[in-house]
């Protein structure tokens, strides 16, 4: 402590004391570290985009509520792919995989990960309540269609229904393709059974029942248009917010899906919001780890090369990493989490924090080179560079803390972590660099070795920067004009910088969960990312008209609400009369059919009509490009895609039998078939025509989990888009159209939009706040308005040039890299600040010396900062990569303008125009 009382600045006294008392300093450091370790243990890594959505947005809070309250919104979608299998095996294999997975995930072994598995629609529910769920116009058709379930009246009614006023809508055919395929299959089986019966077989009731089930209900599996892929919905016990199980359990479920699919010769993958969140966690954590390692190794390697001291990794590395650790500790005490941005910042902090060490060590080495002894060199180095370092750090930290005024949590969190990070690094360096140098000196003394630093053949080189100084001093006017012109020309391009609005383009490339989203749109005609509306469960009456209006929109494939499964009282009242008519008609026809013998000629006429109807539907399917429907229809009519007869159809068999057989025999055979067919159809339709209301408890589990919140107070409306909603052009169509019906929709696409909007507007405000804070600090530091303004010019040119280059090269802003821009205010101005300080010390006419003395450190600090930022470039996640590119480019530009433009401008101002750049009050730094 005695040494601290000697002469010199407080900083130099501290450095000399710390150099002489390293043990004490290390004890202080240990104590601080122990306390901050508690905070570090409290930090959670929340590396999903979802976790940084703005909490003050209604869309985001609604989305959070949906994630937590509606279990199906978190479902993992397993896509089982049998496209590599022979077409005739694909469907059966896909179904086998889905069944096997459904069984496995329902077992107790997966009870901690899976709360529900849904591979099929609930057939039983539809068989009991199918008709009460239908709209009046459909029921009106059903009333006519099932007025009589005997074969002849049924086929006649079917023909009438197919020939009713035709809408000719090719796109509608595409929408109903899966239903049409199943319906056609059912018709084919009914006719096949009839042909067998007419051929002499006894009608098989089970086959008739199965055919009618296919005709009435359809395929229970969620199959693709080509039936070679299928979907399985797995409800996890966790959500995207439960970070621990998110990765572990999703990995486990995914592994099992892939394993089982492979055993059957198929493949499988997972997608959905939760899976994308898992992938974000994994790729960003991988990126974070890789970047951190890369930054540390490269920077310490650079330090060894520059300072040629073997212990540099320890002297610089220990305070550097402690600074990061302390920041994590303070983060734990304050906001308790690191998100993608703040985690990235901690990596960048490696590049920023090392700057202080470089300035301190460079000063120390230069003083030692100048012949000073250890303590004197430490004191002199801290005296000369300490104030600049502290001013630089405070300027940067203040610029970061100024961002706390932002509206969004994401920027405020970044502001806090960034500001604390700079201060932690500064303190760690001020504490430990002199202490560790002292420790090194003692070690050398104990070993009785001469300090290698003193016998180095080469001093820290400054040739390059001295050369730059020469150039700047020789032609300052020319340099100012050229760079001003270049910067201005680039800045003109800056309005053309685009904003990345597709969150999926920010994810890692080649993610299976993202690729499966596109595949689902192509093969299943549905996208996993839908829009939602939360509604009050007590007011379901608003839902039918809302979903109807939504389904009228071209961009909407389907709008589903709980009232599709649980009709309102008004809907029930509207539908019950139709159901009543159907049930009455069934009773009447049951009595009548027992007495009537079918007329074979009438049957023949109706079958001819039915064949024509199916051929025409096949024509439309070919015209509309709905190949699967065309194939299904062709398999019943025996035509190929060109309309040529290529196979004997069930119609051909029926016509041949009916035309050649004795009419009486045909009538008897038809009657035998009818005796089996009519009661089964009547029974199925009667069961479906149940008129009772449906309660929540009666609903299939998948429906409850989809539409009802856990507390039962809210219901959900889901709006499925026609295309992948992340595609920019379509997203705008989809969201704009939905907005014409409701302003209450939400979903990941809208929440992400909010994030982009807020990030964009908040970043502008944050830049303004940072500029003001930095300006005030510069004013306080230099006490000279002109110098403060001059110092800002290179920063402005750096920004303008950065935006211009981004526009010209097509690099887009996204909500990660745009938020990093305000950081550049604090970091980018550093170099100019150091040059100012030195120039004020060196005095007019000594710019060459100024650059020679500060240039090396400035160049080195810029390189280390660039290493810190560029370490994100190899990241898998494209958002991290683009941030790395933008920030590295920004630093390079800031350096260019700081070491060329800024000194040239200083020369013009101070030496040609004669401006007084010295402090206007106080006299801490004087020019010669």
């Amino acid at each position: 402590m005695k040494q601290m009382k000697k002469g010199g600045t407080a900083l130099s006294r501290w450095a000399e004391w710390a150099g002489s008392n390293p043990g004490k300093v290390l004890l202080i450091t240990l104590a601080v570290t122990a306390i901050l370790s508690i905070g570090a243990a409290m930090v959670k890594m929340e590396m999903t985009f979802y976790s940084i959505m703005p909490k003050n947005s209604v869309q985001v809070t609604d989305m959070e509520k949906i994630t937590e309250e509606f279990p199906f919104a978190s479902s993992l979608v397993a896509v089982v792919d049998g496209r590599n299998l022979p077409p005739e095996q694909a469907k059966a294999t896909v179904i086998s995989v889905i069944d096997a997975l459904s069984e496995d995930f329902s077992a107790p072994e997966y009870a901690d990960a899976v709360s529900g598995v849904y591979g099929t629609i609930n057939v039983d529910f539809l068989e009991e309540h199918g008709l009460i769920l239908a709209k009046p116009d459909v029921l009106d058709r059903m009333t006519r269609l099932y007025a009589d379930t005997a074969l002849l009246p049924f086929i006649t009614a079917l023909n009438n229904d197919l020939e009713r006023e035709y809408s000719g809508d090719g796109e509608a055919l595409e929408d109903d393709e899966a239903q049409l395929v199943s319906w056609t299959g059912g018709i084919g089986r009914i006719l096949g059974g009839l042909a067998d019966s007419l051929g002499g077989d006894v009608p098989e009731k089970e086959e008739i029942d199965a055919a009618l089930r296919a005709y009435l209900i359809g395929d229970p599996y969620y199959l693709s248009r080509s039936e070679n892929m299928g979907l399985l919905f797995i409800n996890p016990t966790y959500t995207i917010n439960d970070l621990n199980p998110l990765v572990r359990q999703t990995d486990r479920i995914e592994r099992h899906c892939k394993k089982i699919a492979a055993e059957y010769g198929a493949s499988a993958g997972l997608t959905g919001l939760t899976v994308v969140g898992r992938d974000e966690m994994k790729t960003s954590e991988q990126g974070f780890g890789l970047s951190m390692m890369l930054a540390v190794v490269l920077i310490l390697l650079l330090m060894i090369i520059i300072f040629r001291i073997r212990s540099t990794p320890l002297i610089i590395g220990i305070p550097l990493l402690l600074g990061v650790y302390w920041t994590a500790g303070l983060t734990g005490f304050t906001i308790r989490r690191l998100n993608i941005l703040t985690a990235m910042y901690l990596v960048a902090l490696i590049g920023l924090g090392v700057d202080y060490a470089i300035h301190m060590l460079t000063g120390f080495v230069q003083e030692r080179d100048g012949g000073k002894d250890f303590s004197a060199a430490l004191g002199a180095a801290f005296a000369k560079s300490g104030r600049g370092i502290i001013t630089g750090a405070l300027t940067t930290a203040a610029a970061f803390f100024a961002l706390l005024m932002a509206e969004s949590d994401i920027i405020r969190e970044l502001a806090l972590v960034a500001g604390m990070g700079i201060l932690c690094e500064l303190i760690a360096m001020l504490l430990l660099i002199p202490a560790l140098l002292g420790l090194r000196r003692r070690r050398l003394e104990r070993r009785r070795k001469t300090d290698p630093m003193l016998i180095r053949k080469r001093a820290v080189r400054s040739d390059f920067t001295a050369g730059l100084g020469g150039v700047v001093t020789a032609r300052p006017g020319l340099i100012v004009i050229i760079l001003l012109l270049t910067g201005t020309l680039l800045a003109v391009q800056s309005p053309n910088v685009e904003l990345e609005d597709n969150l999926m383009n920010m994810e890692a490339e080649g993610l299976e969960s993202i690729e499966l989203q596109d595949l689902m749109v192509e093969e299943f005609g549905t996208a996993p990312d839908v829009l939602y509306i939360i509604t009050d469960a007590d007011n379901p009456d608003i839902l039918p008209s809302m979903t109807e209006n939504l389904e009228d929109l071209e961009s909407v494939k389907a709008a589903d609400a709980v009232t599709d499964w649980m009709p309102t009282e008004a809907q029930l009242a509207e539908r019950r009369p139709y159901l009543g008519r159907i049930r009455t008609a069934l009773e009447v026809s049951a009595e009548k059919n027992q007495e009537v013998l079918p007329d074979p000629y009438s049957i023949l006429d109706e079958l001819l009509r039915l064949e024509a109807n199916l051929i025409e539907m096949g024509d439309l399917a070919v015209l509309g490009g709905t190949d699967r429907a065309a194939h299904a229809l062709n398999s019943v009519t025996g035509l190929d895609m060109d309309g040529n007869k290529t196979a004997e159809s069930v119609f051909d068999r029926l016509f041949e039998i009916l035309e050649s057989a004795d009419p009486e025999d045909s009538a008897k055979a038809l009657a035998a078939y009818d005796r089996a067919f009519a009661p089964i159809l009547a029974s199925r339709v009667r069961a479906m025509a149940e008129t009772g209301g449906i309660t929540k408890e009666m609903l299939p589990e998948i429906v409850r989990e989809t539409f009802f919140s856990k507390d039962g107070k809210n219901t959900l409306v889901t709006i499925s888009p026609r295309k992948n909603p992340w595609e920019g052009e379509f997203r705008s169509v989809f969201t704009s159209q939905v907005k014409t019906v409701t302003d209450r929709s939400t979903g990941m696409i809208l929440a992400a939009d909010q994030l982009i909007t807020i990030a964009e507007s908040d970043s502008k405000k944050a830049v303004a706040a940072a500029l003001i804070a930095v300006f005030l600090i510069l004013l306080a530091d230099f006490r000279n308005l002109r110098l403060a303004l001059i110092t800002f010019l290179p920063l402005g040119l750096s920004f303008g040039s950065l935006f211009g280059i981004m526009a010209l090269t097509g690099i887009k802003f996204d909500f990660i890299n745009i938020i990093s821009i305000p950081l550049l205010v604090g970091i980018g101005i550093d170099d100019s600040v150091h040059i100012n300080h030195r120039y004020l010390i060196e005095g007019r006419g000594r710019m060459k010396e100024t650059l020679a003395k500060t240039g090396s450190a400035v160049a080195l600090t810029t390189i280390t900062t660039m290493i810190g930022f560029s370490s994100f470039i190899p990241s898998l996640m494209r958002a991290m990569r683009s941030t790395g590119i933008v920030l590295t480019l920004a630093m390079a530009l800031a350096f260019l303008y700081s070491v060329l433009f800024h000194p040239a401008l200083l020369i013009l101002a101070a030496e040609r125009l004669g401006w007084n750049l010295k402090p206007r009050f106080g006299n801490k730094e004087t020019s010669k």
Partner: protein, 262 residues
């Protein structure tokens, strides 16, 4: 200059400014209508015969091209009439659409049967393409007949300076789009691009290209309709086009003729 003079000059300038400002909307409207009317001359042609190919690309997959022969003529009462007969693919060779005013029929070559289409079908997809029946041909009904136009600015498209007009329906007609945005070349008054709006968003875009002179009028020989709500695009490429064609006979536009098509 005295204070009074300055005040007088300022007031006069303001008066002139407000006078021209008041005139401006009326002038814009007249001008927009004139621009639209001039571009609409491609719809005013009668007795049009054409052979063209319709290609539909859905989800990146090209479907079998549809070759069509079309006849268009206005009835005596001015209502639009058109007959489109498919020549390919083989499956629909001879299948035909007939439009007479608001009525639409389809005749299936495979069964020889004729079916009437719902009157609400005009905005539905024709032949599975991105064109609606109304887009495919509403006879001589022009945009200026059906829509009010307002000049909305100018853009440069395909190397040509274009006026951008916003069109809104003159009457509440469900067959009309909520809004159209059309781009018309300044120099030649040709449609270059049309955006079709429904429910607050552009749902499809039509590009009109490869203009060639036919009978003294420039006509687009390639028309592309791209859906913005679905992953599909339809292209009509015209091979033959005749105005005042002798092939367009009165008897074509009847359901009786549909029955005779081979």
């Amino acid at each position: 200059m005295t204070e009074r003079k300055i005040l007088k000059r300022t007031l006069m300038t303001a008066a002139v400014f407000f006078f021209f400002n008041a005139l401006l909307p009326a002038q814009t409207e007249v001008s927009a209508d004139a621009v639209l009317k001039k571009a609409d001359r491609i719809f005013e042609l009668d007795n049009v015969y054409s052979r063209s190919t319709l290609s539909v690309i859905r989800s990146g997959r090209a479907q079998a091209p549809q070759e069509m022969e079309s006849f268009e003529s206005d009835a005596a009462d001015g209502s639009a009439r058109s007959l489109t007969v498919f020549r390919a693919p083989a499956r629909v060779r001879g299948t035909a659409y007939l439009t007479v005013g608001d009525d639409l029929w389809i005749r299936f070559a495979s069964t020889g049967r004729i079916r009437k289409l719902s009157s609400s079908a005009k905005k539905n997809s024709a032949a599975g393409s991105d064109f609606s029946y109304a887009d495919m041909g509403d006879g001589s009904k022009t945009y200026s007949d059906q829509y009010n136009a307002v000049l909305d600015g100018s853009d440069r498209l395909d190397g040509a300076d274009c006026r951008r007009l916003v069109l809104t329906p003159k009457a509440d007609n469900r067959d009309l789009y909520e809004k159209l945005v059309v781009w018309i070349t300044e120099e030649t008054s040709l449609y270059v691009k049309i955006e079709y709006w429904e429910n607050g968003a552009a749902i499809k875009t039509m590009l009109l290209e490869d203009y060639r002179p036919v009978g003294g009028i420039e006509y687009p020989f390639r028309i592309t309709m791209r859906s913005l709500a679905r992953d599909s695009e339809s292209i009509i490429e015209t091979e033959t086009l005749e105005f005042g064609s002798s092939k367009v006979e009165e008897g074509l536009f009847t359901t009786a003729y549909l029955e005779d098509i081979r």
